[in-house]
Symmetry: C2
Subunit: 358 residues, 2 copies
DNA sequence: CTGAAAGCGCTAACAC
DNA sequence: GTGTTAGCGCTTTCAG
């Protein structure tokens, strides 16, 4: 090591250096940094200049320790679901969109989004949560399915006084923020689209029963059939599991019947892609011989051949909204009401996998 | 608020409470927590028990402040690339795998992985980095392409003394950790596979020129042609941009030629999927009329029809390795050597998009 | 409007 | 082996 490095900036500046440079106390710097009132414009400017001249940024850990705010939001992901996704290297568009939508919202506010895996049904779930909560002391928590429907988790968070938002969850009495699209309505529209095309024999492939979305989507499907006076053919309702392979298996069951459906609505896109592949194996042409509708609008839905008609769930926007609310709540010291259900718009995207029946 | 909540645990315990319960000083608790030596087994046990009885976890921010370790790793993502991905809602398998591989490695060590967007070529890039570095004080940084090839960024990190790992980057003299597969060899094998199938007229679609991987893959392609004495037909080398649409455009140019190739190697999977779709439009059957090879093995490569032959780049493993090294380095107080290139294995995955020429 | 002092919960030097 | 004493860099009282 040479005695005189060319540019020994090295250590990041502290609030003391800023205060010295601006000729004020550290408290005044702190006031400016946190947009507190009671600082004369002239002083404010001097501080601002010192800050940018020094390239100063308050240390997150120091702020966290002193102020009780960590500038951090934690997202809980279902552990087994996530590990399984990872193990078989499935795409995870829900998490991907959540990650980016949330990151962008946090970024604007100087926040950071962390991800934690949680097995909410395990023995030690509470302890595991307490553990990460006390280590990270997040200003808010985002719950994803199926954790977003877990009562124990919500109660613990309530008891701890940690604000939280539930994504894609069903109704509850526990006061908190909920950001959820109307899954049933989406499924209804998807089915209605098929019916309006002239389909009468419509099959449905359900998703993972542990996820509330699957039930909501099935309910929407059935509601649409009922509204248009269509009977649900025997064996047209298949159990799936939201995976590509599960979709293929269900599609085989559906298509091998004596009187197969002319259209199938899958509770998510991945299964819908499975249907298309099975159809191809069976020499069934999509959409001429069989119409297929998915749900979620995951990215591969557009790459598929034919591209997939589907319902778009705006997970990125949902996450961004949740983050913004949680951050505003933390900034306002709990004075902003969090207990509400934020409206989320979905959309039917008609692409090439649906057409009138032959 | 009632005077007597049922269960007022609320505040997370501190090291003082653990120390009191175990009948030792806080320093001893700290020793146990940090696996430092000089603690008698009996004392160690008492502390451990107190810790788990109280459900204690040290506050990350307090440790960060006092110890200078933040237990945090920061990943820099290229800002424009990421925003563009997000804007057009492309899938981002590189980031997705990076995220999970990294997260799992960090999780084991009690670390957290944060993501930051950085425009490394912008005027204020240094300031922006300094800003996040001083705010977060990360124990290590992970650089992704194309930032991982940016000299300014590497120099700044070196000057700041922040350990960093470069992913999928080309060689450099700056001492640091590098985790990179042999892209050229991968491309060579992909091309060789086509040649061994009997193809002689092979086209190539390059990726985004700003990414070094594109050049390496092109070099591998050309090397394979050279080794087997195949001439590169005129107009068989197309510029692409690593996107699905770009792949389609390039594929059209390739297939509309008087003497089109019997096989095309695309520098990534997304473009390869574009080729398959264009072929279908043109009535060209894959793989009978045209073989297609991709690169990366992103998840949709398996959902495509036909499924895609490709080269797998194990980004998740690469990220995990980088995180582990960086964490070990931080834990060992810089005594572990970081300056090396970690070997990464790739693999040719032969699926349904390649076959002998007609 | 501004500043001085007192911690936040932990680790780092040093004593013992 | 173990405890004591200082801070780390900030926010929060509470004076002026």
């Amino acid at each position: 090591m040479s005695e005189e490095p060319i540019h020994t900036q090295h250590r990041a500046p502290t609030i003391y250096e800023v205060a010295a440079k601006a000729g004020v106390s550290i408290k005044t710097v702190s006031r400016v940094l946190n947009r507190e009132p009671n600082v004369r414009p002239a002083v404010h400017d001097r501080v601002t200049q010192a800050v940018s001249a020094l390239g100063y940024r308050p240390r997150t850990s120091a702020r966290g320790l002193a102020g009780g705010r960590s500038f951090t939001l934690v997202t809980y992901l279902d552990e087994s679901l996530t590990l399984e996704h990872w193990r078989i290297d499935r795409s995870n568009p829900y998490v991907e969109r959540l990650q980016f939508g949330g990151m962008m919202a946090c970024r604007e506010a100087g926040y950071h989004l962390l991800f934690e895996l949680l097995d909410a049904n395990a023995q030690g779930a509470e302890a595991a949560m307490m553990s990460t909560l006390s280590a990270l002391n997040p200003d808010g928590v985002i719950l994803t399915p199926p954790i977003s429907d877990n009562q124990r988790v919500m109660k613990l968070l309530t008891r701890m006084g940690t604000p939280f938002a539930r994504l894609s969850a069903i109704k509850t009495d526990i006061p908190c923020l909920s950001v959820t699209m109307d899954e049933k309505a989406g499924a209804f529209e998807a089915t209605e689209h098929l019916i309006s095309l002239g389909h009468r024999r419509i099959g449905f492939i359900a998703g993972t029963p542990a996820l509330s979305s699957s039930h909501a989507r099935e309910a929407g499907f059935l509601a649409a059939l009922a509204k248009y006076g269509l009977a649900l053919e025997k064996n047209y309702l298949c159990q799936g599991d939201y995976t590509y392979e599960g979709g293929k298996a269900a599609a085989r069951r559906l298509l091998q019947q004596a009187n197969p459906p002319s259209a199938i609505f899958a509770a998510n896109d991945e299964m819908a892609l499975g249907i298309i592949h099975v159809a191809s194996e069976h020499g069934v042409e999509v959409p001429l011989d069989l119409s297929v509708v998915g749900f979620d609008d995951f990215q591969a839905a557009r790459y598929s051949l034919p591209s997939l008609t589907t319902i778009r769930q705006p997970v990125g926007d949902m996450a961004a909204q949740a983050c913004k609310r949680l951050i505003a709540h933390a900034a306002a010291r709990d004075e902003i009401e969090l207990n509400q259900a934020l409206p989320v718009n979905h959309a039917l995207l008609v692409r090439d996998s649906t057409a009138p029946p032959r």
